[in-house]
Point group: C2
Chain length 426, copies 2
């Protein structure tokens, strides 16, 4: 089944917003096993929109349109598509009720205008998809003779995604003899090219299931995808490959759940072990704590943390020895070690991470070049330090340091041998 | 002049990456005064790419293609476009030298493979655009008879943007009788709809220059754009509108420089006044410090900061009174005030920001609902607290709190009356 995406909206055409809808929908449709050959963006212009829809329907089986379903005169997607399918519009009482209800619940009944009833107009014979997060319903128009369909979804991502997941994905899946099922294997602490080399043979001989890598900042994700008539059958197909991946990557796999982030995995592990944690940051300046505390409920494991930019602050707040700073400098394995130890002691925490480095753009020297970062990690009685050489700009170096720190803590918590060769870089 | 964007790459088509190139190029072309009616994405497929390029050239004057200029067999953009323009390829010695030089400088000469010379092949009569950040040159192919042109740029944003700014923008500008010049007016502390209402009359009667709002998280940016034969003429056209904007928004304008961020404006202001600053964060958990320390050279004004998630940490690190926490709770104006005062004292800083609130998803009560955040700000002898009600998810609430805190500090530094009505929300 060939699916084509058409994004409607002058604000996308002029670059005022980035077209994240197309990327999200494309990924979802690819996961469902659909083929994708074209994506188009067209503005709120009647004739160009009609031409675009006609061309898309000619070359693809299903055209998914997003945007242009609002209540204003500029919103034309429904009207133009209905004309292409030669279907008159009628007032749909079910949708009208839902719109009234939507305003009532949010206490804004007084805001309903005549314009809003435009959103309750529906092309004859179209399937109406309820919108739980807004007023514009989704629509499916089918030409059963030509075996073509257009799916209309609202532009706001929160509305569009919920409707796609609840109603459109099952509808698309029913059109195909086999469904597509997948699992995400998330790996930290192993570089992208190394990870790909480790599974080169698996990628070469892949068929059903398939194996695809996705590089993230400091992480590698592999998606395992199987085509099967049922979820159970798909699981049976994916099982051996997943087991093989686990054998090869072992504890470097931090989750096989699509929704779980690295910081969530680390916080879960801390909770599991009954450990508390703290952070002492110099060059990352709060970003590491900020990311760890993204996790709802992180307060169970994290009580306090320190941002120690100045040397005096490292001494005063963390008890780093004046001599250490003088002799080895703020960016040194010795300082990173004392920062981690001092933070754990000061916070009364079981574990601590410290980061000190030269994020750039200034501050580099031949001995301590830009991108040099030391990360210290204390877990219980053990304290270790790792040296990194990052090669991005200030922002990237700080982001990589955050991921490396989380990975380091995770590995120490798993009591994996934390030693690395000196000079390791991303 | 009608410009059309064609993005080439299966990874965009399948949603593996978001098409930020199209948004960026569209914005740049719109700023140059070009008209944009279509954007297309096509995969690494020869016949579909050829069809797409031919159609784009039929309906537009200039087609900008990004991606597909790499050294592998999958990279077809140059080959297909050359065929459409009926131009044979030849080995360009200048580009070959540049590629060799690029590898030599990065110390990776040994990595040059036969594949790389594919990137030095150039269509006859094409203008070659040097790439300072990679190996694939850009190309301009013109059909002077039909008055059509194709511009080919590499996919990596860092390479593409630099080449567009340096060579493509001036080339496009030369094709037009008048150039487009613009200024960005960045505003904080005023909501989007309020800001737009304040300039509704200016937006209604706009002509040359134009005025366009862009909503950012917690900020509003207005772009003033003028069409003129020279930059001086454009400045003369923009001047009265910019002056009027300054009159209406006053100190809420934190910069009129496109490149300056809010945190940079705040750090500059601190430096200007010779003030140091610190932060005490509960619900934002390091994000505020992390953002402020994005600014290179922030170490001049920021020495240390505190993340105090637990009540005991607020007492121990910041000296918040036990009674205050007991009587009013951690999320209260009283606690926010003592946190800011305590942080300034502890860090020996001239100014301090504190954040305490309920970011969600849990923790809300009828009296203290989800999204309630208190921000405290101390500058010299003055300490004030503001109450906010955010209505997003955990991540959004924390991001809004960070922007509101920076805005608060900026206003206090400017000695603006910091008082707000209770219950203010974003």
């Amino acid at each position: 089944m060939v699916v084509e995406l058409v994004s409607v909206g002058t604000e996308i055409l002029l670059g005022n917003i980035v077209n994240t809808n197309a990327a999200w929908l494309a990924e979802q449709c690819a996961l469902l096993g659909c083929s994708l050959y074209h994506q188009t963006v067209v503005g709120d212009n009647e004739s160009r929109m009609e031409e675009t829809i006609r061309q898309a329907l000619e070359r693809s089986d299903v055209v998914i349109l997003t945007g242009g379903l609002g209540p204003t005169k500029d919103d034309l997607t429904k009207e133009v598509t209905a004309r292409v399918f030669d279907r008159p519009l009628y007032m749909d009482s079910h949708t009208k009720e839902r719109i009234t209800e939507f305003f009532r619940i949010s206490g804004k009944e007084y805001q309903i205008t005549e314009n809003n009833w435009k959103q309750a107009m529906v092309p004859e014979g179209a399937a109406v998809i309820d919108n739980d997060n807004g007023t514009a319903p989704g629509l499916i128009l089918e030409d059963k003779e030509k075996k073509k369909a257009a799916i209309l979804l609202p532009g706001p991502p929160g509305e569009m995604r919920a409707m796609f997941e609840k109603d459109i994905a099952p509808w698309l899946n029913r059109l195909q003899p086999e469904g597509i099922y997948s699992r995400m294997i998330k790996i930290c602490g192993i570089g992208e090219s190394q990870a790909e080399t480790m599974v080169a043979d698996l990628m070469e001989k892949q068929g059903n299931p398939t194996l695809a890598p996705y590089a993230k900042i400091g992480e590698v994700h592999f998606r395992v995808t199987a085509k099967a008539v049922s979820e159970e059958k798909a699981e049976l197909l994916m099982e051996p490959l997943c087991r093989e991946m686990q054998k090869r990557f072992g504890q470097a796999i931090y989750t096989m759940d699509e929704e779980v982030t690295l910081e969530e995995a680390v916080v879960s592990l801390l909770k599991e072990k009954g450990f508390t944690v703290t952070t002492a940051e110099s060059c990352t300046g709060g970003k590491l704590a900020g990311r760890m505390l993204n996790v709802a409920g992180a307060s169970d494991v994290y009580r306090e943390g320190y941002i120690t930019y100045a040397n005096e602050s490292k001494e005063k707040l963390l008890g780093v020895a004046h001599d250490t700073l003088e002799k080895f400098g703020a960016v040194s394995p010795q300082t990173a070690r004392e920062m981690a130890l001092g933070a754990a002691r000061q916070a009364g925490a079981d574990a601590a991470l410290s980061v000190t480095g030269i994020a750039g753009p200034g501050g580099g020297t031949p001995e301590k070049p830009l991108g040099l970062v030391y990360i210290g990690c204390t877990v219980g009685e053990r304290t270790e330090v790792r040296e990194f050489h990052f090669s991005g700009n200030r922002e990237k170096n700080r982001d990589y340091a955050v991921v490396r720190a989380l990975t380091f803590l995770r590995e120490m918590l798993l009591e994996k041998d934390g030693k690395r060769e000196k000079g390791e870089s991303r």
